[in-house]
């Protein structure tokens, strides 16, 4: 499968994504420069974590205007698979490819640690290798991960089952103490209504090899491989 990893000025998780997809999972990976419009025939676009354009104005606010994002939006509209991780999630929100917005963490602190996540659905291209209700461990590293959406938006998200990952405790219970950043309904990962675009704050690419403390994140990428293989 051919993945494209977008590189914005200020991206800093792009090489981690390339390393996991190419070296750990043995897939073809091409870098996609923010000023290029071509997606080079890739089957899945990865928007990596980092601080695109220095987080100037708002996280993701400038990145959404880059030439590559116009192509990503058209690709997504045609059903193409897009995954935004951390800053990539923030960019997807700013670009309007996912509903809602990010606020600063309620603690006003940058949080960098492992969290537990509950997998809410497994009938998606991003989660088909997990079990429903499975608790997985991945790290988060962000200052703006406090997801918010208006009441009407939340109603739609809930009705469509768009929250794919929620912050939880080790037993899979969604509690206030298990929510690291104040995110609405403990949402850690959210897909669009069509189910082909996912944004998630946790970093699956930092948890794809046992040597790194968890290999749970691999499931996200392996799900994508299965989704494309059985298309």
């Amino acid at each position: 499968m051919k993945f494209g990893v977008v590189v914005f000025p200020g991206s800093n998780c792009d090489q981690d994504c390339v390393q996991v997809l190419r070296d750990v999972l043995g897939q073809e990976v091409v870098p996609l420069w923010h000023q290029d419009s071509s997606l080079r025939g890739c089957e899945c676009v990865v928007l990596p974590g980092g601080f695109s354009y220095g987080d100037y104005l708002r996280t993701g606010a400038i990145a959404k205007l880059s030439p590559v994002m116009k192509s990503v939006a058209a690709f997504a509209k045609d059903g193409g698979l897009v995954i935004g991780i951390c800053n990539g999630f923030q960019i997807l929100l700013e670009a309007g490819l996912l509903p809602g917005a990010m606020l600063r963490n309620t603690s006003l602190r940058f949080i960098c640690r492992y969290v537990n996540l509950r997998v809410e659905r497994t009938d998606t291209p991003f989660t088909n290798r997990f079990q429903a209700g499975q608790v997985v461990r991945m790290p988060i590293a962000h200052n703006e991960g406090n997801y918010i959406v208006d009441a009407a938006g939340l109603k739609r998200i809930t009705a469509q089952g768009q929250a794919l990952f929620r912050y939880c405790d080790a037993d899979g219970q969604v509690t206030n103490t298990a929510n690291p950043n104040g995110s609405l309904e403990a949402i850690a990962g959210l897909c669009n209504e069509a189910g082909n675009v996912l944004g998630m704050m946790p970093h699956p690419e930092r948890a794809s090899e046992p040597a790194l403390g968890s290999a749970d994140g691999r499931g996200v990428f392996e799900s994508l491989l299965s989704a494309v293989a059985y298309r």
Partner: protein
């Protein structure tokens, strides 16, 4: 012409920075503070001749980029 755009979180959105500043002001002994909202100020220099045209453009800038309508509101002040 100069447009000063102030962007703040909507009143319905919790503003922990504003809250923290509020508490800090109280700790300094300022008792009369009832609310603090933290935001950002963007100064834009414009070539526009008319205030109406400038206002119209800056409004569009706010909606397209300067503010995120989901969580923020903005105010535009124009000065020649």
């Amino acid at each position: 012409m100069i447009a000063r755009v102030s962007v703040t979180l909507k009143p319905s959105i919790l503003d922990p920075q504003g809250k923290t500043i509020h508490q800090a002001l109280e700790s300094l002994g300022f008792k009369g503070v009832t609310r603090v909202r933290m935001g950002k100020l963007i100064e834009i220099e414009l070539k526009h001749g008319s205030k109406a045209a400038a206002k119209r453009d800056v409004e569009r800038m706010c909606r397209k980029l300067l503010a995120n309508p989901i969580v923020e509101t903005y105010r535009i002040d124009l000065a020649s």
